[in-house]
C-alpha cells in the first residue's frame, strides 16, 4: 500500500475513535478507557481488553462545568464532558493515574458524573527507583488487575502479560523508528500526528503492522525540504488547525517531547523478570524525562536540548496546555536551557477550547522568521 493510503487509513482512525470502539465491541471485546499520562496498558491488553486512550476532545464544555472550576485543564474537563455526553458508552472502565492534581480530581468527579463507567485508580509512586517504590507500584498494578477483573470479568495471567509486554515493546521500537524517520522524511505535521494519535485507538499489534509499512516507505521516500525545523514539546499537539499552521508555513516538526506522542515510547518493559508485574514496576522505575515524573535533576531539560540539537532543530516550540501546572513549572528551566544553548524557544498556550488559531499562526510565522 502506498504511504499516502496508509496515512489516510490512520487519519480515519485518529478522527473516528467511536468507530474503533464500536468495531471492537462488535467483535465481542471489552474496551477500557485509559486517561493521560501513563497507565499500565500492557496489563490491560494482556487481560484480553482493548485499552483506548482518552485525552479529551475539542468541544464546548457544558456539563463538566458543574463539576470543575474553570482553572482545571480542559483536557481533563473534556474527558468528563465526553463521559457525561455518553461518548464512551460501551467502555467497561476508566483507568486514571495519580500523576497530577488535574487527574486526581478527574477521578473523584468521574464517580458521580459518569456512574455507569467504573473509575479505576492507578496510584503510581513518584519515588519510583528504590525497591520500596517498585513494591508499591506492583501493589497498585495488582489493584488495577483486581478492579478490572470486577469491571470486565476478564482474567489476568502471567503468560498473557509476557506476550503483551513483547507486543508493546515491539510497538515502542516501531514508533521510535517512525519518529526518527519522520525527522528527515517528507511528511506533514498532520500525517505525523495521525500516526501517533491512531495508536491510542488501536490494538498495538494492529498499529505496529501499519507503522512498519509506513517506516519502510519513508526510508525510500522523498526527503523533507522545509527550511524551518522545530522541536515540539507539550502534553498534546492535537488540534488539526494548529498542525495545519505548521504545514501551511513550511515549519517542520523534526522531533517531539509530547506526552501523547514520543514520551509514550521511550521506555521498554524488561522481559526477563520471572513475575512480569515486577517487570512492569521496573519499567516504571526506568522511566524519566517527563514533567509528570519526579526528577530532582530536571533531566528532561537537558534531554530536550540534546534531542533538538541531534535533530537539527532551529527552535523549540512548547505547546503549553493551559492549566497544566506540571508543564508550566518546567517551562522556565527549559527556556533558560534553550537560551543558554542559543536555541530559540516559543511558548504557545493551547487549550481544548480554542477556536481561533490566528494568534498561534502569527506567533509561528514570526518564530519562523527568527530562526
Amino acid at each position: 500500500m502506498a504511504v499516502k493510503e496508509l496515512f489516510a487509513q490512520l487519519h480515519e482512525i485518529a478522527e473516528n475513535p467511536r468507530a474503533q470502539l464500536d468495531k471492537y465491541l462488535a467483535q465481542g471485546k471489552k474496551v477500557v478507557a485509559v486517561a493521560p499520562i501513563y497507565t499500565p496498558e500492557e496489563i490491560i491488553h494482556s487481560m484480553g481488553i482493548v485499552p483506548m486512550g482518552v485525552w479529551g476532545a475539542d468541544l464546548e464544555l457544558n456539563e463538566a462545568k458543574k463539576y470543575f472550576p474553570a482553572f482545571i485543564s480542559a483536557i481533563v474537563q473534556s474527558i468528563l464532558e465526553c463521559g457525561i455526553r455518553g461518548d464512551y458508552k460501551g467502555v467497561s472502565a476508566l483507568v486514571v493515574p495519580s500523576l497530577c492534581d488535574n487527574l486526581m480530581v478527574l477521578g473523584q468527579n468521574w464517580k458521580y458524573a459518569v456512574p455507569d463507567i467504573p473509575y479505576v485508580p492507578m496510584s503510581y509512586p513518584q519515588n519510583r527507583k528504590p525497591a520500596y517504590g517498585k513494591k508499591f507500584c506492583k501493589a497498585s498494578y495488582e489493584r488495577v488487575i483486581n478492579d478490572l477483573t470486577i469491571a470486565t470479568g476478564c482474567k489476568y495471567s502471567h503468560p498473557a502479560l509476557r506476550e503483551s509486554i513483547k507486543i508493546y515493546n515491539e510497538h515502542n521500537a516501531v514508533m521510535r523508528e517512525f519518529a526518527e524517520l519522520a525527522s528527515e522524511a517528507k511528511i506533514s505535521a498532520v500525517e505525523r500526528h495521525d500516526v501517533f494519535k491512531s495508536a491510542w485507538f488501536m490494538l498495538k499489534e494492529e498499529h505496529t503492522a501499519i507503522v512498519k509499512q509506513i517506516n519502510e516507505e519513508l526510508k525510500n521516500g522523498p526527503k523533507a525540504d522545509e527550511t524551518a525545523r522545530v522541536y515540539v514539546s507539550g502534553v498534546l499537539a492535537d488540534a488539526p488547525q494548529l498542525l495545519k499552521v505548521f504545514d501551511d508555513n513550511g515549519v517542520k516538526i523534526v522531533f517531539d517531547d509530547v506526552a501523547a506522542e514520543s514520551r509514550q515510547y521511550r521506555t521498554d518493559c524488561p522481559e526477563d523478570f520471572q513475575d512480569p508485574i515486577d517487570g512492569m514496576a521496573q519499567k516504571w522505575a526506568n522511566m524519566d524525562n517527563c514533567s509528570f515524573l519526579y526528577d530532582r535533576d530536571k533531566k528532561r531539560v537537558g534531554m530536550i536540548v540534546e534531542q533538538a540539537k541531534a535533530h537539527k532543530a532551529q527552535g523549540v516550540i512548547v505547546l503549553m496546555t493551559k492549566f497544566s501546572d506540571t508543564e508550566e513549572f518546567d517551562f522556565v528551566p527549559i527556556k533558560r536551557a534553550c537560551e543558554k544553548e542559543g536555541i530559540q524557544i516559543l511558548n504557545i498556550e493551547v487549550d481544548r477550547q480554542m477556536v481561533n488559531y490566528e494568534q498561534a499562526s502569527t506567533m509561528i510565522q514570526a518564530f519562523k522568521e527568527m530562526i
Partner: protein, 414 residues
Amino acid sequence: MGEEVKKSRPAPDPNSAKFKLGKIAADAYTDAIAAKERGELVGWCASNFPVEIPETLGLYVCYPENQAAGIAARGGGVRLCNEAESEGYSNDICAYARISLAYLKVKDAPEQNMPQPDFVLCCNNICNCMIKWYENIAIERNIPMYLIDIPYNPDYEVSDAEVEYVREQFWDVIHSLEEYTGKKWSDEKFKEVMEYSGKASRMWIEATSQAKYIPSPFNGFDLLNHMAVMVTARGKKEAGEAMEQLLKEYKENHENGTSTFRGEEKYRIMFEGIACWPWLRVTSTGLKSRGINMVTTIYADAFGFIYDDFDGMCRAYANVPNSMNLEQSRDKRIKLCKDNHVEGLLVHTNRSCKLWSGFMPEMSRQIGEACGIPVVSFDGDQADARNFSEAQYDTRVQGLMELMEANKAGKEDK
C-alpha cells in the same frame, strides 16, 4: 488645634494564648535566621511534611507556604507574583509557588524574610504541585531535595501497601538527612517530639471543637492565625502549652458568655478552603458585619496529627485532608458542620489550588444536602490579590445570609 488623641492598644498579656502563639510563629523565623547566621544548614519545608523528622534531628526549617501567606497578607503577593511571571512562570501556577520562586530570586521581602535554603523537604500529600515547585527550588539553588511521596489515596482507608511505602521513605529521608547534615536520629528524641506533636494536636482539636457551643466562644478567623503554629511548630513543647492555653481561654469564654467574635452571632457557617490572605480583612468584615461567624473550617482537623507509633505517624500523614478521597473529605466536613451547628457553607474557589477546588462543587453539593444547609461559593485566591472581587464576595455572602435566614424562618414555621 488640639493634639490628636490616639487610642493606644493595651499591651498584650504575655500569658495569653494569642501572645504565646504569635511568639512561637515569630520565633520560627528568627530562630532560623539566627541558625543560618551561625553557619547551620537551614531547610525549606512543605507544610504537611512530617515535622517530626527535622524536629527530631534538630534541623532548622522554614515554611515557604507560611511565608507566602504572610507576604500576601501584608500586601506583597502581587509584587512577587509579577516577579515570577517575568521569569516565565504562568500566572496559572499556585500563587504560593510563584511568591516563593520569586523570593528565591529577589532574596528580600520586607513583609516576611527568611533564610535561603540549603536543602528542601518536600511532601506531596497536599498536592502534586509541591513536587514541581520544590524541584525548581532545588535546581535553582543546586541543593538536595528530599521527597516523601504520599500518593493521593483514592480509597476511604489508607492501604497497608501505602503505609509501607511511606514508612520506607521516612527512613530513607532520615538516613539521607543524617548523612547530609551530620545530625543524628534519636528514638528517644522522636518519642518526645511525638508526644509534643500529639499534645499540640489534641489541644488544637479540642480548642477548635469549642465552637460546638452557641454562641461560639471564638471567631473562626482566629484559627487562620493560630494554625501557623500548627504548621510550623507542632513538634515543639511550647506549641502544646500555647494550645492548652487557647483551649482554657475558649472554655472560659464559654463559661463567661464571652467570645472573640465581636457582636451578636446571628449565623454560623463553615468556611471551605485556604484563606484569601490578601483580602483577609475584607472577607472577615463581610461576615462579621452581618453577624456571621465562621465557626469551623477543615483546618480544625487538618493539623491534628494524632498517632501512637511510627506506623501510625505514616498513616496520619497519608490521611491529611488533601490526600483523601471525596467521600472521606465529605464525611469529615459533614461531621464538623453537625458538631458545630453550622447553618451555611461558604466555599472559596481558590484559583491557586486545583486539588482543593477541583471536586469542591460536587462535594459541597453533597455536604449541603446531607446537612440541609445552603452552599455558596466565591472566586478568590490564597495569595494573588488580582483573583478576587470584593463585589462578588459581598453579593455571595449576602445571598448566603438570605438563604440561611429563609432556612431559619422555615424551621420556625414548622
